[in-house]
C-alpha cells in the first residue's frame, strides 16, 4: 500500500463517511465562527450574537434530530432521510458514531436551544459580553459532543479539555465580582490538576497497551489480564496489571472531576456558588450529560469487545476488567450520592444547595452506570435497559435542573438575592413561581407523578435487575439501599426550600419588584411543563432512550 492510496482512502473516508455524520459539530463550529465574525466586522455588529447562536444551534438540533431519526430502529423514522448506520467509526477511529452519540448530541443541542433563550431573558450576559459568552458556550458544547463520541484516548483528552477550558472562562464571566473570579481561578487550577492526573493515567495506559484506540486497547487489555495464570487480583500486585490499574484509576480521576464525583468534587460547590446561575445551569446539566456519556464510553469501550465468539480468549480477561470497573464506579457512586445529599442539608445559599444536589445526582447516575456495566456480560437486554434508564435520566435532568437554575436566576433578578432565606413567603407575591419551584424540586427528589420519579425508578429498576443476574450482587444491593436512603434524605433539604417559600413570613424589607413579566414566566413554563408531562407521558422520550441503549449491542 503506497502513500497515495492511503491518502485517497483517508480522504474518501473523511469526506464520504465521517463529515456527513459530523455535521452537528460542524454546525456548532460554523456558528462559533459566525458569532466571532459578527463581533469583528462592523457591518455585522448590529446582529445580536445570541440570536445568531440560537439560529446556529437550531440547525444543529435539526441535524441531530435527523441523525437520531435516521438510526435503524428509531421510533418515528425519518421519511426521506438517508438511513444512518447503526455504528460507525469516524476519522480513522478517533470518534465513533452510534445511537448514544446521536442521543447525547440531540440532548445537548436541545439543551442549547432552551439555554440560549434563557440567558437572553435572564440578562446575563449583557450585550457587551454576549459574543464572548456564546462563543464559550458553543465551544464547550462542541467539546461535550466530542466527549460523548470519543473512541480514542487522545480524542478523550482533547474533548475533555475542549469542554473544560471554555467553562473556566464562563465561570469568570461576571467580571469585577470577587466571588466569580475566585471561583474561576479555583476551577482552572483544579481542572488543570485533574487534567494532569488524567494525562498521566492516559500515558500509563497507552504505554502498556501500545495503543489509544478503545477497541484495540480492550483486545490488548483482555489478553494481558486473561493470560495471567492467577486471577486478576492476585496478579495485580506485580507487573503490567498494576500499572494498568493505576493508569485507569488516574483516568477515572479525570472523569470524576468532570462528573464532580467524590473525592474530586471540591471545586463544584465553590464554583457553582461563585458563578452566575446561568453558568451553573450550563455546567451542571450539559457538562454532566457529556461526562456520564463519556464514562459509559470508557467503561464499555475498555471492558467489552463482543461475546466470547468475537473476543475470543480476551473475553474472560475483560470480565475481570468490568468487575473492577463496576466496583470502582459503584463505590464512587454510593459515596458521591451520600455525601452530596448530606452536605446539601445545611446549605443556606440556593446555588450551593443545587451544587450539592448535582453531586448527589451524579451519584445516582453513576449507580446506573455501575448497573449497566455489571449487566454488560450477563444480560445484554438488561444492559440496554440500564443504558436507556441513564439516557432517560439525562433527558429529564435537562428540564429539572435547568428549571431549578432558571428559577434561581429569575428570583435573583426579582429579589436581588440567592439566599434561601430571601425566598421567605414568596408564595404570597409570586404563587406561580412557587408552584413551578415545587414541581422542579419535587421532581428532583424523585416523587411521582413527576419526571424525576420515572428516571429514578428506571435506574433503580436496572439495579434490581443487576441484583438478580449480575456477579456483583452485594454491591448492587448496597447501591439499592444507599439510593433509597438517599432519596429519603434528599426530601429534607428540597422541601425545606419549599417550606421557606410557603410558610415563612416574608421579610419586612423586601423590595417590591414587579412580579414576573411574561417572558420569564414563559421560560419557566417551558421548562416546568415537560417535568410534569414527562412524569406521565414518558414513553416518547423513553423510546429514544431505548434507542440510545442499543449502542451496547
Amino acid at each position: 500500500m503506497d502513500l497515495g492510496s492511503l491518502l485517497t482512502g483517508a480522504i474518501s473516508d473523511t469526506l464520504d463517511v465521517s463529515l456527513p455524520l459530523f455535521r452537528v459539530e460542524l454546525t456548532l463550529a460554523a456558528t462559533i465562527v459566525l458569532v466571532l465574525l459578527c463581533r469583528m466586522l462592523p457591518v455585522l455588529r448590529w446582529l445580536d450574537s445570541g440570536l445568531v447562536a440560537l439560529g446556529g444551534v437550531a440547525f444543529a438540533l435539526w441535524y441531530a434530530w435527523c441523525d437520531l431519526r435516521g438510526l435503524p430502529g428509531a421510533p418515528w423514522p425519518a421519511v426521506a432521510a438517508a438511513a444512518v448506520p447503526a455504528s460507525r467509526e469516524l476519522f480513522g477511529g478517533l470518534l465513533i458514531f452510534d445511537p448514544l452519540t446521536a442521543f447525547i448530541r440531540f440532548l445537548l443541542a436541545g439543551f442549547l436551544v432552551l439555554y440560549i433563550p434563557f440567558t437572553k431573558i435572564s440578562g446575563i450576559p449583557d450585550r457587551e459580553d454576549g459574543a464572548d459568552f456564546y462563543t464559550l458556550v458553543l465551544g464547550a458544547s462542541l467539546g461535550m459532543c466530542l466527549m460523548a463520541s470519543s473512541n480514542h484516548l487522545l480524542m478523550l483528552f482533547m474533548a475533555v479539555e475542549m469542554a473544560s477550558v471554555p467553562s473556566y472562562a464562563l465561570v469568570g464571566i461576571l467580571k469585577g465580582r470577587k466571588a466569580s473570579s475566585e471561583a474561576a481561578l479555583k476551577y482552572v487550577v483544579y481542572g488543570a490538576g485533574a487534567a494532569g492526573v488524567m494525562l498521566y493515567g492516559i500515558s500509563l495506559l497507552a504505554g502498556v497497551l501500545g495503543t489509544c484506540h478503545f477497541p484495540s486497547m480492550a483486545a490488548e487489555l483482555g489478553s494481558i489480564v486473561g493470560e495471567s495464570p492467577e486471577s486478576f487480583y492476585a496478579a495485580a500486585s506485580t507487573g503490567p496489571i498494576m500499572v494498568l490499574a493505576l493508569g485507569s484509576l488516574m483516568l477515572a480521576a479525570g472523569l470524576a472531576f468532570k462528573l464532580s464525583a467524590v473525592p474530586f468534587h471540591f471545586w463544584c460547590p465553590d464554583v457553582l456558588e461563585g458563578a452566575a446561575a446561568e453558568v451553573g445551569g450550563f455546567l451542571s446539566v450539559a457538562s454532566k450529560a457529556a461526562a456520564v456519556a463519556l464514562a459509559l464510553r470508557v467503561a464499555f469501550g475498555l471492558g467489552w469487545l463482543g461475546g466470547e465468539e468475537i473476543a475470543g480468549a480476551s473475553a474472560l480477561g475483560l470480565a475481570d476488567v468490568r468487575h473492577f470497573a463496576v466496583y470502582l464506579i459503584g463505590l464512587m457512586a454510593a459515596v458521591t450520592c451520600t455525601l452530596g445529599n448530606l452536605a446539601a442539608y445545611g446549605q443556606t445559599n440556593m446555588k450551593r444547595l443545587l451544587a450539592y444536589s448535582t453531586i448527589a445526582h451524579a451519584g445516582y447516575l453513576l449507580m446506573g452506570v455501575a448497573a449497566a456495566v455489571a449487566l454488560r456480560g450477563v444480560d445484554p437486554e438488561g444492559c440496554r435497559r440500564a443504558v436507556a434508564a441513564i439516557a432517560f435520566y439525562l433527558g429529564t435532568y435537562v428540564f429539572m435542573n435547568l428549571g431549578a437554575f432558571a428559577l434561581v436566576a429569575v428570583l435573583r433578578n426579582q429579589l436581588r438575592s440567592e439566599e434561601i432565606a430571601a425566598y421567605a413567603g414568596l408564595v404570597r407575591t409570586s404563587p406561580g413561581l412557587v408552584v413551578a419551584a415545587a414541581a422542579v424540586l419535587v421532581s428532583l427528589i424523585g416523587l411521582p407523578p413527576l419526571a424525576g420519579f420515572v428516571s429514578k425508578f428506571l435506574v433503580f429498576a436496572s439495579i434490581v435487575e443487576a441484583i438478580s443476574v449480575a456477579a456483583e450482587r452485594p454491591l448492587m444491593l448496597v447501591l439499592l439501599v444507599v439510593g433509597g436512603i438517599n432519596t429519603v434524605i434528599s426530601l429534607f433539604y428540597y422541601l425545606r426550600v419549599l417550606k421557606v417559600m410557603t410558610f415563612d413570613p416574608p421579610p419586612e424589607d423586601r423590595i417590591a419588584t414587579p412580579s414576573t413579566v411574561w417572558l420569564p414566566g414563559a421560560l419557566i413554563t417551558a421548562l416546568v411543563v415537560p417535568v410534569v408531562v414527562l412524569g406521565v407521558f414518558w414513553s416518547g422520550l423513553y423510546a429514544y432512550a431505548q434507542l440510545a441503549g442499543t449502542f451496547a449491542s
Binding site: L185, K186, V189, A245, A253, F264, F266, Y345, G346
Partner: protein
C-alpha cells in the same frame, strides 16, 4: 315485536328513567320551581312511566305465557309423590352420580325436564379479559317482571305520598330534635329536591338488582342500594341518632357484603363466570357456541337439571390431583373426583357467601340490628326502602340464586330465617314505638320468607315477599299518617284514634288482618292468608320429611301466634279504647287526601293480591312459571352436617294432609293471638302491667332487644376502639419517636458533615483567604490558600483510590 327483544327494551327504559330523574334533580334540583318543588314531579313522572312500562311488559308476558293453574299439586300430587319415590330418581337423589341420566331424563314427565322461560343477554360489556367478563345485562323471567311491577307500583305510591309528607322541607326547617351548642334548635334550609333525588337513585339501583343478568351486576347495584339507604336513613343527618343509624346500617351491611364477596370469588375463581344464564357467543372461528351460565353449570340440562357440583369446582378442589394427572386424562377423572365429594365444600361456601350478603340486606340474624334503627329516616323511606323493596332484595337474591344453593345451604337459610323470625317477633311484643313494632315485624316476616325458601318453598317464600310488600307498605304509610297526626311515635300516648281517623284506622286494620293471614279457612282470605298458609304447609311438609328439623315448623307456627298478638296489640293501643293522652288526642286529625289515597289503593291490594282467579291467574301461579329447573320434584342430598336432607317438592304441600293441617294451625294461632291481644288491651281481663311484673326478667330482656346492641358493642365496637387506640398508641409512642430519632440522627450526621465541610474544608479555605485578603492581592490569596489545598486533594484522592483498590478490592473480591 319478539318478546326476547321487547322485554329488555321495556324494562331497560323503565330501569334507566329514575337514573335520568336522579341526574336531572342532581344538577337542576334547586332550580326546579320555588325551593325545588317540581323535583317531586320529575321523580314521580319518571317512576310512573317506569310503572307503565313495567305493566306493558307484564301484559306482553301474559300474552305470550298465559298463567294457568299448575297441575302437579292438589288432586294427584300424592299419587305423583309415590310414583316418584318408586321410580327412584337417581339423578335427584345423589348429585355425585351422573350415571343413568339418559333414561331418567327420557322417563321424566313434563315437570322433570321443566326449564323456566327466561330471556337473558348483555347490553354493554364493561370489561373483558381472560375469563373475566363484566357486563351490564338482563335476566328476565316472570319473577323479574312481577318484581318490577311491584317495586315501581309501591314506589309510585310512595312518591305521591311523600310529596305530601315531605312538605315541611319546602321551606326552611327548624329541627327540634337537634339542639346546637348555643342552646338553639338547628335552623336549616329545606331539602325537598335532595329527598327525591335519593329516592330516584334508589329506584334505579333497586331495579338494577332485579334485572341484573349476572352476579357482578347484582353486586354493583347491591352496593348502590346500600349507599341510597345510607343517604335516606341519614336524611336528617344533623340528628345524632339519624347519622349513627345510617352509619350502622351501612357498616352492618358491609359485614354481610364481605361474605358475599367471598361467595363471588369462590364462584368466579372456580367457574369463571358470574352470569346466571347461558350465553350464545360467536367464537374466534366464527362458530356459534354456548357459554354455560351458573344455572347450567350447577344443574346441567343433560342430567335433568339435578344439582351436582360443577366440573370447575371439582377441578378447583382437586387441584393437587389435577396437577399430577396428564391433561388429557383430567376430563375422564372428574366423575370419580366428584363421587369422592370434592368441591362440595366450595359449592357450600359459594352459597353461604352469597347468602351472607342477603343476611345483611334483609336484616336476618345476626345482622338484624340495623333495620329498627333505620326507622330514623322519613316514614316514606321506611315504607319503601326498609319494608317493601330493599330489604326484600335479599330474599329476591336467594330466590334468584336458588338453583345454585345446595341442600346444606338451604338448611342454613332455613335456620337463619327461623331464628330471625322468632327473635324479632318477641322483641315486637314489648316495643312501644309504633314504627319500631313495624320494623321488628318486617324483620320477622323476612325471616318467614327466608325460612320458606330454605325448606324448599320457592314459590311460597317469594309469594309472601309480594304480598308482604303490599301490606307492610300499607302499614307503614298508616303509621306515618298516625305520626303525622299525633306528632309522636309512642303508642302509650295514643288510643281511641279510630273515631278521629277512620280511614287510617280502617286501612290499618286491613293491613293487620292481612299480615296475620286472616281468612275463612278453605273459603277466602286476605293476601297474607294464602302466602302464609303455603309457608306453613311447606314447613310442615319439610318437618315430616326431616323429623329432626321439626322445630322449623314450630317456629313458623309460634311466629304466627306472636305476629297476631303484636299486630293487634299495636292496633288496639293506637285506635281502640279511650284516649290516653288528651293533648295528643285533641290535635289528632285525619291526614290530607294525597296521603289517604295511597292507603286505600294499597289496602285493596293487600286484600286481593293473594287471590287466584278462576282459570288459574294469580301471583302464585305466575311465579310457578319461573320455578328454577330441577326444583320441581323432591330432592335429597347434603353432606355438610353429616346427614341427608330431603327437600320435599312444593306441590306436595298443596295436597293433603299438609294443606288442611297448615290452614287450621294458621287459623288457630292467629285467632289465639288476636284474642289474647284483645283480652289484654281491649277487655282488660289481663293487665299488661301485671304480666310484665310477673315475667320481669323476660320482659326486661325483650325490652332491651335481647341485648344485641350491647352485645355487639362489647364484642365488636369496643375491641375495634381498643385496637384503634392501640394502633394509635403504637403510632405515637413507637413509630413517631423512631422517625423523630431517625430525623434527629440524620440532622446530626448532616450537621457533622456540613460542619466538616464548612469548618475544615471551607473554613480552612475561607479563613486562609480572609486572613490574607487584607494583606495581599486576590491572586496571591488564591495561589497561597485554597487552591493548594484543593489540588492536593486531587493527588490525595487518586492515591486513596489506589490504596483502596489494591487493598480492599483484592481482599474482598479475590475469592
Amino acid at each position: 315485536m319478539d318478546l326476547a327483544t321487547l322485554l329488555p327494551q321495556l324494562l331497560g327504559i323503565a330501569w334507566l328513567l329514575p337514573l335520568a330523574s336522579f341526574v336531572l334533580i342532581l344538577f337542576f334540583g334547586p332550580k326546579m320551581g320555588p325551593h325545588g318543588r317540581n323535583a317531586a314531579w320529575v321523580a314521580t313522572a319518571a317512576i310512573v312511566t317506569s310503572l307503565v312500562l313495567s305493566l306493558v311488559a307484564f301484559v306482553s308476558w301474559l300474552g305470550a305465557h298465559p298463567v294457568t293453574a299448575v297441575h302437579h299439586g292438589g288432586d294427584h300430587g300424592a299419587a305423583h309423590a309415590s310414583d316418584h319415590a318408586a321410580a327412584g330418581h337417581s339423578d335427584a337423589s345423589d348429585h355425585g352420580e351422573a350415571s343413568g341420566h339418559g333414561d331418567a331424563a327420557a322417563s321424566h314427565d313434563e315437570r322433570g325436564v321443566h326449564a323456566p322461560v327466561a330471556y337473558s343477554g348483555d347490553w354493554y360489556t364493561l370489561y373483558e379479559g381472560g375469563r373475566l367478563k363484566l357486563s351490564i345485562g338482563w335476566y328476565v323471567d316472570s319473577l323479574t317482571i312481577l318484581m318490577f311491577v311491584l317495586v315501581t307500583f309501591i314506589a309510585t305510591c310512595i312518591h305521591v305520598y311523600a310529596s305530601g309528607y315531605m312538605h315541611d322541607e319546602l321551606h326552611d326547617v327548624t329541627d327540634h330534635e337537634v339542639t346546637l351548642a348555643d342552646g338553639h334548635h338547628l335552623h336549616r334550609a329545606g331539602r325537598f329536591p335532595r329527598f327525591f333525588q335519593a329516592l330516584s337513585l334508589f329506584c334505579f339501583s333497586m331495579m338494577g338488582i332485579l334485572i341484573a343478568g349476572n352476579l357482578a351486576m347484582v353486586f354493583i347495584f347491591w352496593e348502590l342500594v346500600g349507599i341510597c339507604s345510607w343517604f335516606l336513613i341519614g336524611f336528617y343527618y344533623e340528628r345524632q341518632s339519624a347519622s349513627t343509624a345510617a352509619n350502622k346500617a351501612f357498616i352492618v351491611n358491609r359485614v354481610g357484603d364481605f361474605g358475599m364477596l367471598i361467595g363471588l370469588m369462590a364462584l368466579w375463581g372456580a367457574l369463571g363466570t358470574l352470569h346466571f344464564a347461558d350465553a350464545k357467543v360467536v367464537g374466534a372461528d366464527g362458530q356459534a357456541a354456548t357459554v354455560p351460565g351458573l344455572f347450567s353449570l350447577v344443574r346441567p340440562a343433560e342430567s335433568g337439571h339435578a344439582l351436582r357440583v360443577p366440573d370447575g369446582m371439582v377441578k378447583f378442589a382437586a387441584a393437587d390431583k389435577v396437577a399430577r394427572t396428564p391433561v388429557a386424562e383430567v376430563a375422564g377423572k372428574i366423575e370419580a373426583w366428584r363421587a369422592e365429594g370434592l368441591g362440595r365444600w366450595l359449592l357450600f361456601i359459594a352459597g353461604v357467601g352469597i347468602f351472607c350478603g342477603c343476611v345483611g340486606k334483609s336484616a336476618q340474624f345476626p345482622l338484624s340490628v340495623w333495620l329498627p334503627d333505620a326507622m330514623e329516616g322519613p316514614t316514606p323511606v321506611s315504607a319503601l326502602v326498609h319494608s317493601a323493596t330493599m330489604v326484600a332484595a335479599g330474599v329476591y337474591l336467594v330466590g334468584r340464586f336458588f338453583p345454585v344453593l345446595s341442600p346444606d345451604v338451604l338448611l342454613v337459610i332455613a335456620y337463619t330465617g327461623a331464628i330471625t323470625l322468632f327473635i324479632a317477633a318477641t322483641i315486637a311484643l314489648v316495643a312501644n314505638d309504633i314504627k319500631r313494632v313495624l320494623a321488628y315485624s318486617t324483620v320477622s316476616q323476612l325471616g318467614y320468607m327466608m325460612l320458606a325458601l330454605g325448606v324448599g318453598g320457592w314459590v311460597a317464600g317469594l309469594f309472601h315477599l309480594v304480598t308482604h310488600a303490599f301490606f307492610k307498605s300499607l302499614l307503614f304509610l298508616c303509621s306515618g299518617s298516625v305520626i303525622h297526626a299525633c306528632h309522636t311515635n309512642d303508642m302509650r300516648k295514643m288510643g281511641g284514634l279510630a273515631k278521629v281517623m277512620p280511614y287510617t284506622a280502617g286501612t290499618m286494620l286491613v293491613g293487620c288482618l292481612a299480615i296475620i293471614g286472616a281468612g275463612i279457612p278453605f273459603v277466602i282470605g286476605l293476601s297474607g292468608y294464602y302466602s302464609k298458609d303455603s309457608i306453613l304447609a311447606q314447613a310442615l311438609s319439610f318437618s315430616q320429611a326431616n323429623p329432626r328439623h321439626a322445630i322449623l315448623f314450630y317456629a313458623v307456627a309460634g311466629g304466627a301466634f306472636l305476629t297476631a298478638f303484636y299486630m293487634f296489640r299495636l292496633w288496639f293501643m293506637t285506635f281502640a279504647g279511650k284516649a290516653r293522652d288528651h293533648h295528643v288526642h285533641e290535635h289528632a286529625h285525619e291526614s290530607p287526601q294525597v296521603m289517604v289515597m295511597p292507603l286505600l289503593v294499597l289496602a285493596v291490594l293487600a286484600v286481593v293480591a293473594g287471590w287466584t282467579l278462576p282459570g288459574g291467574f294469580g301471583i302464585a301461579n305466575l311465579l310457578e312459571q319461573s320455578r328454577p329447573a330441577g326444583t320441581v320434584d323432591t330432592t335429597t342430598g347434603g353432606f355438610a352436617f353429616g346427614q341427608t336432607l330431603t327437600i320435599p317438592a312444593e306441590y306436595l304441600s298443596h295436597g293433603e294432609p299438609f294443606h288442611a293441617t297448615a290452614t287450621w294451625t294458621a287459623f288457630a294461632t292467629a285467632l289465639g293471638g288476636v284474642l289474647l291481644a284483645a283480652a289484654m288491651y281491649v277487655w282488660r281481663v289481663i293487665s299488661p302491667a301485671a304480666v310484665a311484673m310477673v315475667f320481669r326478667p323476660v320482659y326486661t330482656f325483650l325490652a332491651n332487644r335481647w341485648y344485641f346492641d350491647e352485645l355487639y358493642h362489647a364484642l365488636f365496637v369496643v375491641p375495634a376502639h381498643g385496637l384503634a387506640a392501640t394502633a394509635s398508641g403504637i403510632d405515637q409512642g413507637l413509630i413517631d419517636p423512631f422517625l423523630n430519632g431517625l430525623a434527629w440522627v440524620t440532622r446530626l450526621v448532616a450537621g457533622i458533615d456540613s460542619w466538616i465541610d464548612r469548618t475544615l474544608v471551607d473554613g480552612l479555605v475561607n479563613a486562609t483567604a480572609a486572613a490574607t485578603w487584607s494583606a495581599g492581592t486576590r491572586l496571591k490569596v488564591l495561589q497561597t490558600g485554597s487552591l493548594r489545598q484543593y489540588v492536593a486533594f486531587i493527588a490525595i484522592g487518586t492515591v486513596a483510590l489506589f490504596v483502596i483498590a489494591s487493598l480492599f478490592f483484592r481482599a474482598s473480591l479475590a475469592g
